[in-house]
Symmetry: none
């Protein structure tokens, strides 16, 4: 759900294509394709190491009207999730590199709202328990028919909270999780993916010291073994963009400890 921002002229926001607030309870607006959420096609990420499977699912889901992306292993899945921002992930439990269960756990940690549909091997009852414990919303036993799959996908998407496009605020800084863009006061700020991920970490934990290890773990997914120069460089990028018009600093360095997002109190 998008929130109307009262102040600024929304010349660009109008072109956004976002649904404005429906203030009355009786919203009988157009319901487009049944595969749509929030007025846009739902995004589905398919993760499986078998290309035959991913291709088949891609075709089937595309045919149903979903926007589909695929990934072939765990790392790929995590990366694509950040880029593609899917509403639902179809996840095979057997994966090379990172285990499907582990992927599920990380996805769930990263986004509590994300719908996750796990594919388990036949009769592997134990898998199902493990998978559900890891935060999957539903599972499907191979082999399955496409009808069953699309039905499950539909069911999961239907229960999705209508929103998750969120405006995270701190001081005069606003981060739009829908467009991945930021605004400081009235100034629009374009962010790259990594910059956005990093800033989001700060915005979700304002006034908290974030250690370099935590940040790299969250943003890059792994530890850098003590060399945090990448992080330092990206903090620099963020500061440059956030203070481009001479605004006071928001991301502060705590030498030897990490960084904090804090209001510019004198």
């Amino acid at each position: 759900m998008t929130f109307d921002l009262p102040t600024q002229g929304r010349s660009d926001a109008a072109a956004e294509g976002e649904t404005p607030i429906v203030s009355s309870a009786m919203a009988t607006d157009i319901v487009p394709t049944p595969t749509a959420v929030f007025g846009r096609p739902a995004r589905v990420l398919v993760v499986d190491d078998d290309e035959n499977v991913t291709n088949m699912l891609r075709r089937a889901l595309s045919f149903e009207g979903y926007a589909v992306a695929t990934a072939r292993d765990g790392n790929d899945a995590l990366k694509k999730t950040l880029e593609f921002a899917p509403d639902l992930v179809v996840l095979d439990i057997m994966l090379p590199a990172i285990d499907g269960v582990e992927v599920c756990r990380r996805l769930r940690a990263g986004d509590p709202q994300l719908a996750i549909l796990m594919l388990t091997a036949k009769d592997a009852a134990a898998d199902q328990v493990v998978g559900l414990d890891a935060g999957a919303d539903d599972y499907l036993v191979k082999p399955f028919t496409l009808d069953v799959l699309t039905a499950r996908v539909r069911a999961q998407l239907r229960r999705k909270e209508p929103s998750e496009v969120e405006l995270v605020r701190f001081a005069d800084l606003v981060l739009d999780t829908g467009t991945h863009s930021a605004r400081r006061g009235t100034r629009e700020i374009a962010l790259t993916t990594t910059e956005y991920d990093l800033l989001l970490q700060f915005m979700r934990h304002p006034r908290q010291v974030l250690e370099k290890e935590q940040l790299t773990e969250k943003v890059w997914g792994y530890d850098f073994g003590g060399n945090y120069n990448v992080l330092e460089v990206y903090v620099r990028y963020l500061r440059q963009k956030l203070e481009a018009a001479g605004e006071p600093r928001l991301i502060h360095t705590l030498r030897g400890a990490g960084y904090v997002l804090r209001e510019p109190t004198a």
Copy 2:
């Protein structure tokens, strides 16, 4: 004083945090509104001088499953915050006695984790800037619909996470483990990492004699073999910062024994 507690017996709200498992494909269940944080109903304090407004918001939020308290002015708000320990405060910017912005600032100073949602008058663009600078997490322009309000409340509470952020207090001194910063009265004090570590030791053991050996062991991780000059120097740094505005001494020397954190009157 009476606080509204959610009336509905929400048997499933106890399982909050766990996504209900839907094993059937045709799941039409409705997921209960997630009004809980940390496994209990979230507490919301509504502050407005218009009783019609507070009553309306109380009803709406109670219906959503929140525990609601109300306050009619700034002093009342600060008092109720201490008693009620809300997770979120809905705060009108126009208040008698103490201004809403000032209330916001004090609430924020008292608890960096508290979610604050400000209500501003229509088109008062300046207010929003002021409010956000004072530490509000979000604002809402009057008039608004209840739908919008509850959505915002939900969004704010969703991002609340259990954290180890803690405010350690002693006399007029507050140490924020989130930002590693200290405050004496209203004066903000920046600390280096070593200074912070040392002060934390004192704050965790107030009115206790701490031997030099203990302190160096804890802060520096090893013993200095009898030469405690580093410690003495850092005690000095702390004293300089903590007494910079002429405040009475808190860290006292016990010749031959060590140091104590003790209130000045004793």
